[in-house]
């Protein structure tokens, strides 16, 4: 079972010091994720969903526990190694899109490939492909403020996809969108899962969570439910 695990978290804790108080954002999380899983993380506000995503996404390091990603020990990595693994293995989709406002859609999507040191021609080709994949092949020269919210989030998804990552992490990707755009985004994520991508999705909307094949519920920094019985 462990051999085909993409991600395995063991005893992950994250503690913040706020003044003299200790906040246990994560209080011992064990989690194994295999390739091509489609997971929703749910739970009340402050339960540690974002913290968990940040740790899985190698943006943050755990206070305790071990984190293995594709055979590499992430909790032992230094800053540059973490940056490299974020670049090659992880695609982020944020609630607030986080596109660079002065760059066109194409340039935004191209960015991760720059840090991956991909030659220019390849880069533009791949970025175009990724934008076409999310249905924005005809909007590549638009800047974020010339796009609707749903379109912006699609650009963000294209940016997450373009490096062909092992896992796509989406923290409330529909949180800032109207329901129609939200549905479109979920369609795209479903499609990506069908093509073999591994996806973790944070949401507090049950409708959105239903798209996933496995639902994890967090409460006070612990996994309260891990519901993987649903299969199609």
């Amino acid at each position: 079972m462990k051999s085909d695990a993409l991600i395995s978290l063991l005893g992950i804790e994250k503690t913040y010091e706020v003044g003299t108080e200790l906040v246990h954002a994560l209080a011992g999380v064990d989690l194994t994720i295999r390739e091509n899983e489609y997971i929703s993380v749910m739970g009340p506000s402050g339960s540690g969903k974002s913290t968990l995503m940040n740790i899985i996404g190698c943006l943050d390091s755990p206070s305790a526990g071990t984190y293995e990603f594709g055979g590499e020990m992430v909790h032992e990595m230094d800053d540059n190694q973490l940056a490299s693994i974020r670049n090659r293995k992880i695609g982020f989709v944020f609630q607030t899109f986080n596109l660079l406002p002065k760059l066109t859609a194409l340039r935004n999507v191209e960015l991760p490939l720059i840090y991956a040191n991909v030659p220019r021609e390849d880069r533009l080709e791949k970025a175009k492909q990724a934008l076409t994949k999310v249905g924005l092949g005809d909007r590549i020269t638009h800047k974020p403020n010339e796009l609707s919210g749903g379109q912006r989030q699609r650009v963000a998804i294209a940016r997450a996809l373009v490096t062909d990552p092992s896992i796509i992490l989406a923290d409330e990707p529909t949180g800032n969108l109207d329901s129609k755009s939200g549905v479109e985004i979920m369609k795209i994520l479903d499609g990506l899962h069908d093509q073999g991508n591994t996806i973790i999705l944070v949401t507090h909307e049950a409708d959105v969570a239903k798209h996933a094949r496995r639902i994890i519920r967090l409460l006070d920094g612990r996994i309260e439910h891990d519901d993987r019985k649903r299969t199609v």
Binding site: L59, R86, Y115, R159
Partner: protein, 404 residues
């Protein structure tokens, strides 16, 4: 790796373009700094050249003996009360010492000159002997210098400077023409090659030379007299020797102070070096000041830029930018601003130096100074960019992404 470096350069450049007006404003200090240092260099190069030219007629192997020190902090009244120089000192000096190769005697005063309707006021008139050509380094451009015969007979002939020629005769050939010096008619026999001015101090161009014999007959045998002594051998020893002879001529006792002055070209050089130092010092002061002010301005703008772009930094980190890359991006941005400012300053300085060359005096901007000033600008970029860039590089990606 090359791609990455190139892209970092491009990203930095974009950063500047996105904030053009602000970048321009902070560039000003650097522009002024570069401008100050290069224009100062141009000025000094021009001064050097005109100093060389205008001082060249004062030979290095000539002593100038007179009543006054050229540059000294001696009491002017003390010098004024010294006995006057005498017209026969030249002969006496030559007879008394082997070190003295030749001497010429010069008398001088200010006069007004005229030809027809053209007149020039306050022209320096010199009466001297043909030996003047051996003790001073002037070139006769047209015609000839005065002769011994003209000196003895008191002929009314004149050798005029280039400015006098231009002022009285414009573009006509002055040779053989007549002119009035203090109302007395003279014939022009020669024109001295143009020499140029040095800080308006001294110019052969605004002078007229007539035979000493003529001068003493028309004006006076008394007044300002200077003996030019061309010597052989070591300048220090020659000066001591001539000093001894002068003391004997004056009949001074050992305890008496010299009541005459022995001047050398060196005196001008010393004075000139002081001027040069003052100009250079001012230039360096302005440069350092504006570079420091500019540097602080750029550091400030970079801190603001890092703060404003906190989210951008967070995004870049989230998608894989390493700390060194973020550091490089902001450091390069600071360097680019300074480099652009430096090049702009250099361009302006080049234009300025061309104007100085055309309208003030012949001069060129020293190339090494231009290169140095651009390096200096880049250096300011590095220094002022370091702290903000480190701040950017060390930002925590999660907090940066949350920044509003």
């Amino acid at each position: 790796m090359f791609t990455l470096i190139w892209e970092t350069v491009r990203i930095s450049f974009q950063g500047i373009l996105e904030n053009k007006s602000r970048a321009l404003l902070t560039m000003l200090g650097i522009v002024i700094g570069v401008l100050a240092v290069t224009l100062m260099g141009t000025l000094i190069s021009g001064l050097d050249r005109s100093f060389e030219r205008s001082m060249s007629f004062l030979g290095k192997d000539v002593l100038f003996i007179g009543k006054y020190e050229w540059f000294s902090n001696q009491d002017w009244w003390e010098m004024r009360n010294r006995p006057d120089m005498q017209l026969d000192y030249g002969e006496k000096l030559k007879a008394a010492s082997d070190v003295v190769l030749n001497t010429s005697t010069v008398m001088a005063r200010r006069v007004d000159v005229a030809r027809g309707d053209n007149s020039l006021l306050g022209v320096q008139l010199r009466g001297t002997t043909p030996e003047y050509m051996q003790t001073s380094f002037i070139n006769i451009d047209q015609g000839r210098f005065i002769t011994g015969g003209e000196d003895r007979s008191g002929s009314r002939v004149a050798v005029i400077g280039a400015d006098v020629a231009q002022g009285l005769f414009q573009n006509r050939n002055p040779l053989g023409e007549r002119m009035k010096i203090s109302g007395v008619t003279f014939r022009v026999i020669g024109v001295v090659e143009k020499q140029g001015k040095f800080l308006g101090l001294f110019s052969m161009d605004n002078q007229i030379i007539i035979p000493l014999g003529t001068y003493t007959r028309i004006f006076s045998r008394r007044g300002y007299i200077q003996i030019n002594v061309k010597f052989a051998g070591d300048p220090g020893e020659a000066k001591e020797e001539v000093r001894g002879v002068m003391r004997r001529i004056r009949g001074l006792r050992p305890q008496d102070k010299d009541n005459f002055a022995i001047n050398q070209q060196e005196a001008f050089e010393t004075q000139y070096k002081a001027i040069k130092l003052a100009i250079g010092g001012t230039g360096v002061f302005i440069t350092v000041l504006s570079l420091v002010v500019g540097g602080i301005g750029i550091m400030n703008i970079m801190f603001v830029s890092v703060k404003e772009r906190t989210r951008e930094i967070g995004v870049r980190k989230a998608i894989g930018a390493t700390r060194p890359l973020i550091l490089g991006q902001f450091l390069l941005e600071a360097i680019f601003i300074c480099l652009l400012a430096g090049l702009a300053g250099l361009g302006l300085a080049y234009g300025g130096s061309r104007l100085i060359d055309q309208y003030v005096f012949p001069s060129t901007m020293p190339v090494w100074l231009g290169v140095l000033s651009v390096f200096l600008a880049v250096f300011v970029g590095v220094i002022s960019g370091i702290a903000p860039s480190f701040k950017a590089a060390r930002l925590d990606p999660i907090e940066a992404l949350r920044y509003e």
